[in-house]
């Protein structure tokens, strides 16, 4: 048994900051919120899809709208200045959170997908052409896979995929042969949202940099739950989403090395990103505002910084340890059953999620029955359709953990799976 039994977190106290975790479910789902018929305690194990939001982050959003809501970079008036300072400082905070050099290297985006598209359009359209190659992995999320695939179709560049082996690890020998002087971009997921694999980003970055290629890291599943430092990883670009790290939806960040962002043309045009406009031509604002056209998600940006504060206070290393403990426990309990297939690396060597199937029960049926026990898990292809094709299944269910989950909740999940087994026997 690899299970570590003690958590470094005071989970009970943490749960107090997330009132939603105390709600009950099971009644009418067409009316939002707890209502008649909601009798089963919620067990929220869908954190890789979106995390819950602590009171202090919700309060940050409410406080912005209640007391200093104003457009940024527009006015001389007090409210606009308060909002502008808070919004700009949020960039500094997020930069510090991932080890970037400063706000110049952090562009606020609506999320990871937009960060990916920003680089694909602003850098890729200008830099890629026939003969160039973009190297991905077979375990990329659609956000990365579809974006680069379609960009390559437009530019004539070629996409290559680093294979995933039986255990769910990248074939690094194949990677070494695949990355060549024709490679312009290596875009890799840090922690797979389906297999849970933690990829060796620094090694891949060395490989890419040996051939003067850039590295884009999809950090949507890693920034929320482990210390991430862009320099340690060797990332040239790195994108993540606020809503998977205790922040709100609709906000995320793209990290880019300053000199690369400096050379890139804007992605979206409009207000706030310009310096000087005439009827004939325009010039661009400094970084990062050059890439933030239009009125940004001000409340979201400020709330994202608050989420960073929150996670740092709890401690990312402790969160990582807690997740590893829960994941190993869930892996051990689920693999006790011969009719459960768990995908990806061993329980003690993965991010905080476990995707699996119960033999003879479709993932959607399994998720429906598990839901009847109050357990929220993801069912479907998890935005990795080609990987599921390789795994030989159309869909799977996925339980994913975060700082507020407990071993008892894993037990509820396993009992619910057992119920599905009985029902379908």
């Amino acid at each position: 048994m690899s299970t570590q039994d003690t958590t470094p977190l005071d989970v009970e106290r943490i749960r107090d900051e997330f009132p939603i975790l105390s709600r009950r479910v099971g009644g009418d789902v067409t009316t939002p919120g707890e209502g008649p018929g909601d009798e089963t305690p919620l067990v929220y194990l869908d954190n890789a899809a979106t995390s819950q939001t602590p009171d202090r982050v919700v309060d940050t959003i409410a406080d912005y709208y209640r007391s200093y809501n104003a457009n940024v970079h527009r006015g001389i008036h007090s409210l606009s200045q308060e909002a502008s300072v808070a919004y700009e400082e949020a960039h500094d905070r997020v930069a510090e959170f991932v080890g970037a050099n400063g706000r110049e290297e952090i562009v606020f985006t609506p999320g990871t997908t937009e960060g990916m598209n920003l680089v694909a359009y602003a850098w890729g359209l200008a830099e890629l052409g026939p003969g160039d190659e973009v190297v991905l992995t077979e375990m990329e999320h659609h956000a990365s896979l579809v974006t680069w695939q379609q960009l390559c179709k437009r530019t004539g560049a070629e996409v290559k995929y680093i294979p995933v082996d039986e255990q769910g690890y990248l074939d690094m020998d194949a990677a070494a042969e695949m990355v060549t002087d024709d490679t312009k971009m290596v875009s890799v997921v840090h922690v797979s949202n389906t297999l849970g694999t933690v990829n060796p980003i620094a090694d891949l970055a060395d490989l890419a940099h040996d051939h003067d290629a850039y590295v884009f890291v999809d950090a949507a599943q890693s920034v929320p739950n482990r210390p991430v430092d862009v320099d340690d990883l060797g990332a040239d670009f790195l994108a993540f989403s606020g809503h998977k790290m205790c922040g709100p939806t609709g906000i995320g960040a793209l990290y880019g090395r300053e000199h690369i962002l400096e050379e890139m043309q804007p992605y979206l045009y409009g207000g706030d990103m310009i310096r000087k406009v005439t009827y004939e031509d325009s010039t661009w604002e400094d970084l990062p505002w050059k890439f933030e056209a239009g009125t940004p998600n001000i409340a979201g940006g400020i709330a994202l910084a608050e989420a960073c504060d929150y996670l740092d206070e709890v401690g990312l290393e402790r969160i990582e340890t807690h997740e590893r403990m829960l994941t190993a426990y869930a892996y051990d309990r689920l693999t006790e059953f011969d009719d459960v297939e768990v995908y990806g690396p061993p329980g003690d060597d993965r991010g905080g999620l476990v995707a699996f199937n119960l033999d003879g029960v479709h993932a959607h049926d399994l998720s429906s029955i598990v839901n009847d026990h109050g357990v929220a898990i993801r069912a479907g292809d998890h935005c990795t359709q080609p990987l599921h094709q390789k795994m030989g299944v159309p869909a799977s269910v996925r339980a994913s953990f975060y700082l507020y989950n407990t071993r008892e909740e894993v037990d509820v999940l396993v009992d619910a799976v057992d119920d599905a087994r009985r029902l379908f026997a």
Partner: protein, 139 residues
Amino acid sequence: MGLGSDMYRQQILDHYKNPRNYGELEDATFSHVGENPTCGDTIKVDVRLADDGETIERVAFSGDGCAISQASASLLTQELPGLTLSELDAMDRDDIVDMLGVDISPMRIKCAVLAEKVAQDGAKIHTGELEIDRTKTEE
């Protein structure tokens, strides 16, 4: 308990485990295939019409997928014989929910209506009103 347990009442599980009219009709008047791309549910429906070219005489289905999609297809093969093509065309999701006799949660409705959609599209292709290769259900 909530929707989940209701959804898997005995009838659904029975039709899932022991599907009726499973297989193919050798003398089918028309056949059609459809899928829920995101779930991987696939259904092929074979329909034989009576000599009037309008009344459904026999229906069979094959395919695989979740219990809701397969049980719904099985039940439909019992429901359709005797109906006309225009009566088939007039069926909607409420008819399917009535047929299943359970509440279907909003996220699963496309599983429930897959077989019905496949039969309806198959009929329209047969009468020349529709030109598609495969039916795909939307969210």
